[in-house]
C-alpha cells in the first residue's frame, strides 16, 4: 500500500513534531513516521528537561537576561569554535522565539526558580519534563489532523538528484511506500546502534550505557550518508557523561547520572586517579566525564566520597556502596584496597586548607598532586565512606548531515530541493563536541520549525 502526503516527517521527537506542526499550520497534509511504539514516542526528547534560550530580560519562566552574544560565547567555549558560524548565530537568534512557540502548542514551563537553580537564567524548564512536552505536541498534532504512524521504521529512501521522492517504511511488519512532496528527517543520532558505536569506539563501546531511547539506530542517517549527503562531525563525537554503572543498558534517563564527582575522588580499576575532579563548575564539566571514563581500563571508574559531602549532591537512583574505611570500601567495590588506600592517602596529604564552597571556584585545592584537584578538594577522612561505580553514559552522537540555513540537507554538493533535517541528526552543524545543557532542545525546535516552514513551501 502506498501512502501519499504533502510532507513526510521521519522521527517522533521534538524536532520532528516542531516540523510537523509547522508544516501542517502552513496548510500541508503531514504524516509523522515514528520508529517507537506509542508509549516510547518522543525519542530522546522524552528524557529532556529544559530549553536553552536567549532573552533580553526576566520572563515568567526565565530569570535575568541571556543575550545572544553571551549564548554564542558559551557555545564557542564548549565547541572550541568548531561549528558553522552562520548557523550558530541563526540558532541563537531564533532561540528567542522557542518558549513562546512551545506554549502556543500546549507546552508548559515551570516558574523561574530565582537563585536556587542557577540554570533558570539560561534555560526554561518544562513543567513535568520533556515527556509532558511531547504529550502536548502529540495532542496538538491530533487536533490538527496530523497522521502519526507508530512502530514505523524507515528502511529505504528514494532520492533523485538529491530530491526526496519516497521512503520505504516497515509498519506493523508490513512494507509501505510513503510518497511526499517534501520530507524532514528528524530521526536523531545513532547512539542506540551498538554495532555502529563499535565501529567508532572499538570494544570500549560494549561498556557504554545508552541513556536514552533504544530506537535511535541511525538508519535514516546511514541512508542519507550513503546517498551522498555531506557528513558533519566525527563518528566518535558524542555527548556522554558519567553515569552509575548499574544503570540499565538503555533508557535509564536522568536518574542514573551522578553529580558527586566534584565532591569526591575518582579512581580507575587500578585504584589510580586520572583526572581533575574539580577543574571547573560542574555544569561546565559534567559533559567531559563520559569521555574521561571511556578512556579508562574497562571503561569503568569509581567516585569516592565521605560523610562530609554525601548530602551535597543529588541522590542517584542506586544506593551507594558504603563502608567504614577506605580499604573496606575498595574491597566492596572490588578494587585493590592497598592501591586505593595509597591514592587516598596521597590525595589527603596534598589537600591545602581553604574555605569550601561548591557554588564558586573555591580555594580548596591540592598541591603537588598529579593530576591535581583544583577546587573543592577536601580530605576523604570522615566515615562512612561511599562509593559509586561509573561508566560512560552516551546521550547522543554528533555525526550528522550538513544543512543550510533553511535546514535543507546538503547532498551531492548542493542543498536539496525538498529534503530537510532537524534535531540530533544535524546537531553537528553547530556542536561537534562538548555540550551546553538544554541546547539539544534549542537545535530541535529552531531547525524543526525551519524545516517545517521550508518543507511546506517546497511541497506547495
Amino acid at each position: 500500500m502506498t501512502l501519499d502526503y504533502d510532507v513526510a516527517v521521519f522521527g517522533g521527537g521534538n524536532a520532528a513534531l516542531c516540523a510537523a506542526l509547522t508544516a501542517c499550520e502552513a496548510g500541508r497534509r503531514v504524516v509523522v513516521v515514528e520508529r517507537a511504539p506509542r508509549h516510547m514516542r518522543g525519542g530522546n526528547s522524552r528524557h529532556t528537561r529544559n530549553l536553552r534560550c536567549a532573552h533580553g530580560g526576566p520572563t515568567a519562566v526565565l530569570t535575568g537576561a541571556y543575550e545572544v552574544d553571551e549564548f554564542l560565547a558559551d557555545l564557542h567555549r564548549v565547541n572550541g569554535g568548531e561549528s558553522d558560524a552562520a548557523l550558530s548565530r541563526l540558532l541563537i537568534h531564533r532561540s528567542r522565539e522557542c518558549a513562546g512557540w512551545m506554549e502556543r502548542h500546549g507546552g508548559r514551563f515551570q516558574a523561574a526558580l530565582r537563585g536556587t537553580l542557577h540554570l533558570s537564567r539560561t534555560n526554561a524548564f518544562f513543567l513535568g519534563g520533556g515527556k509532558a512536552l511531547m504529550n502536548a505536541y502529540y495532542a496538538a498534532a491530533a487536533r490538527q489532523g496530523i497522521d502519526v504512524l507508530y512502530d514505523a521504521e524507515v528502511v529505504g529512501l528514494d532520492l533523485e538528484g538529491g530530491a526526496f521522492r519516497a521512503a520505504t517504511i516497515v509498519v506493523g511488519g508490513e512494507r509501505r511506500v510513503v510518497l511526499a512532496r517534501a520530507a524532514v528527517v528528524a530521526t536523531g543520532g545513532f547512539e542506540s546502534n551498538l554495532e555502529w558505536l563499535r565501529e567508532a569506539w572499538g570494544d570500549a563501546a560494549d561498556q557504554f550505557i545508552v541513556r536514552g531511547t533504544p530506537y535511535n539506530t541511525g538508519t535514516p542517517l546511514r541512508l542519507l550518508l550513503d546517498a551522498g549527503a555531506v557528513p558533519v562531525g566525527d563518528p566518535r563525537g558524542c555527548h556522554a557523561i558519567a553515569v552509575d554503572a548499574r544503570a540499565p543498558r538503555f533508557d535509564g534517563g536522568i536518574v542514573t547520572r551522578l553529580d558527586c564527582i566534584p565532591l569526591g575522588v575518582v579512581v580507575n580499576q587500578h585504584g589510580e586517579r586520572f583526572a581533575d575532579e574539580g577543574e571547573d563548575l560542574w555544569p561546565r564539566r559534567y559533559a567531559s566525564w563520559g569521555a574521561l571514563v571511556a578512556g579508562q581500563p574497562g571503561q569503568q571508574a569509581y567516585c569516592l566520597v565521605d560523610a562530609k559531602t554525601h548530602r551535597l549532591f543529588m541522590p542517584s537512583v542506586f544506593p551507594p556502596v558504603a563502608a567504614p574505611s577506605i580499604r573496606e570500601l575498595a574491597t566492596a567495590l572490588e578494587l585493590p584496597p592497598d592501591r586505593v588506600a595509597a591514592t587516598v592517602e596521597r590525595f589527603n596529604a596534598s589537600v591545602r586548607p581553604g574555605t569550601f564552597d561548591l557554588e564558586t571556584l573555591d580555594g580548596c585545592r591540592t598541591e603537588g598532586l598529579s593530576p591535581p584537584k583544583s577546587h573543592w578538594a577536601q580530605r576523604l577522612d570522615t566515615p562512612p565512606f561511599w562509593g559509586y561505580p561509573l561508566r560512560p553514559g552516551i546521550t547522543f552522537t554528533y555525526l550528522g548531515v550538513t544543512v543550510d540555513d533553511t535546514a535543507r540537507v546538503v547532498i551531492g554538493g548542493a542543498p536539496s530541493r525538498n529534503l530537510f533535517a532537524a534535531g540530533e541528526v544535524m546537531a553537528g552543524n553547530v556542536l561537534r563536541r562538548g555540550y551546553l545543557a538544554g541546547i539539544g532542545m534549542t537545535i530541535g525546535t529552531v531547525f524543526g520549525r525551519l524545516a517545517g516552514t521550508h518543507a511546506a513551501d517546497a511541497a506547495g
Binding site: R108, Q110, F125, L127, G128, K131, V255, P315, S316
Partner: protein, 364 residues
C-alpha cells in the same frame, strides 16, 4: 498489597523520583519529597496524603510502565493513602473490618438499621401514620440520644486518628530535612484555603487528568458539589438543633424555613456530586488509582447518595402514608453513614488538610 510491600514499593518509587525531580513544580508532594533521602512508612503516609491524585506526574513520567522502573506515583501513593487511613484509624480493628467489604457492609448497615428503626417505631406503640410528625415515629429524645452518642464517638475516633497522623507527619517532616527551616506562620489558613479549593488538583494550570490527553474540570466540580452539599446538610441539621433546643420550635419546618432550604440545596448537590464522582471515577484512566480505594470510595458515595435521596424523598412525601418507613430508612442511612465516617473515605479530607498544614508549616 501488604503494608510492607506498599512501603517498599513506595520507597523505591520515590527514590527514583528523588533522583529525577522533573515533576517538582506539579504539586507539594515533590518539594516535600526532596527534603528527604529515605522514605519510611511515616514519610510515605505524609506524602501520600499530600497527593490529590491529579495524575499529571504519571503521564509526564519517563519511567512509567512499561519502563523497567515501572514508576506510577499516583497509584503508588493512592495505595499507601488508603492503607494510612486504616493505619491511623481508632479503633483500628473497625477500620480493618470495614475495609474488607466496605460497600456491602455499608448497605447491610442501612438495611439492619432500617429494620431496627421500624421495630423501634412499632415499640413506641404509635401507628405509622401521615402528618409529617417525625417524632411520632421516633421520639425526639431517642433520636438525640442515639445520634448524639454516635456523633460524639465519630468525632472522638476522627480526632484520635488525625492526631496520630499529625504527630507522625510532623516528626517525619522534622527528621527528614537536612536543615530544619523555621516554622512559618499562617499555615493553618493557607492549608485550609488550598485544601477547600482543591488547589493542587489544578496547581499546574491545567485541570485534573482523566487520561493522558484529557484535562477536564469535572472531577473537581463534582467534588465541590459533594463537599459543599455535605456542609449545607450539616448546617441544616445544626440550625434545626438550635431551633429545637433554643427556641423550642419543633419539626417539621416549613418549606421556606432555613433548615429545609439548606438541607434541600445540600441534598440536591450531594445527589448530583455523588453521581458525578461515581461516573467520573469509573471512566477515569484506571492506572491512576489503586483498586484498594474502590470499596471506600463507592461505599462513601453510596451512603451519601442514599442519605440525600431518602432525605429529599422524606421532605416531598412527609405528609404521605409512606413517611414512617421513609423516615426509618433515612435515619438508618444517616446512622450507617455516621458510624462508617471514621473508617471510610470521609477521613481523607482531614488527613489531606493535616498534611497540607504540616507542609505549609515547614515550607515543605
Amino acid at each position: 498489597m501488604p503494608l510492607d510491600d506498599l512501603t517498599a514499593n513506595g520507597a523505591r518509587t520515590l527514590t527514583v523520583c528523588n533522583a529525577c525531580r522533573y515533576c517538582e513544580q506539579y504539586c507539594p508532594v515533590f518539594p516535600a519529597m526532596e527534603e528527604r533521602r529515605e522514605f519510611a512508612r511515616v514519610d510515605l503516609a505524609y506524602l501520600a496524603n499530600l497527593c490529590h491524585n491529579c495524575g499529571e506526574c504519571l503521564y509526564a513520567c519517563q519511567y512509567a510502565p512499561p519502563h523497567e522502573f515501572g514508576i506510577n506515583v499516583p497509584r503508588t501513593l493512592a495505595g499507601i493513602r488508603v492503607a494510612s487511613y486504616e493505619d491511623y484509624a481508632w479503633p483500628r480493628p473497625l477500620a480493618v473490618m470495614f475495609r474488607a467489604h466496605s460497600l456491602l457492609t455499608a448497605l447491610m448497615l442501612v438495611a439492619v438499621f432500617s429494620g431496627l428503626m421500624l421495630l423501634l417505631a412499632r415499640s413506641t406503640g404509635l401507628p405509622v401514620q401521615p402528618g409529617g410528625d417525625f417524632y411520632a415515629i421516633v421520639p425526639h429524645g431517642t433520636m438525640v440520644a442515639l445520634f448524639g452518642g454516635v456523633f460524639a464517638f465519630v468525632v472522638l475516633a476522627i480526632v484520635v486518628g488525625v492526631a496520630r497522623f499529625v504527630r507522625d507527619a510532623r516528626a517525619a517532616g522534622e527528621s527528614g530535612g537536612a536543615k530544619a527551616p523555621p516554622l512559618r506562620t499562617g499555615a493553618a489558613w493557607r492549608a485550609l484555603r488550598d485544601g477547600i479549593r482543591l488547589r493542587h488538583l489544578h496547581t499546574s494550570g491545567a485541570d485534573c487528568a482523566s487520561s493522558e490527553e484529557d484535562r477536564r474540570p469535572w472531577r473537581r466540580w463534582w467534588h465541590h458539589l459533594v463537599l459543599w452539599g455535605f456542609l449545607l446538610c450539616f448546617a441544616s441539621t445544626s440550625v434545626a438543633a438550635v431551633y429545637h433546643s433554643v427556641f423550642g420550635w419543633i419539626a417539621p419546618y416549613a418549606y421556606s424555613s432555613l433548615p429545609v432550604v439548606l438541607g434541600s440545596l445540600g441534598g440536591v448537590m450531594l445527589l448530583a456530586g455523588c453521581a458525578g464522582l461515581w461516573v467520573v471515577r469509573a471512566r477515569r484512566d484506571q492506572a491512576l488509582g489503586d483498586p484498594a480505594q474502590d470499596g471506600l470510595d463507592r461505599s462513601f458515595l453510596a451512603l451519601l447518595f442514599v442519605t440525600s435521596l431518602t432525605g429529599l424523598a422524606l421532605l416531598v412525601l412527609r405528609d404521605s402514608v409512606v413517611m414512617g418507613r421513609l423516615l426509618a430508612l433515612h435515619l438508618a442511612a444517616v446512622l450507617a453513614l455516621f458510624i462508617t465516617l471514621p473508617y471510610g473515605k470521609f477521613v481523607h479530607g482531614f488527613y489531606r488538610l493535616a498534611a497540607l498544614w504540616v507542609y505549609e508549616r515547614q515550607g515543605s
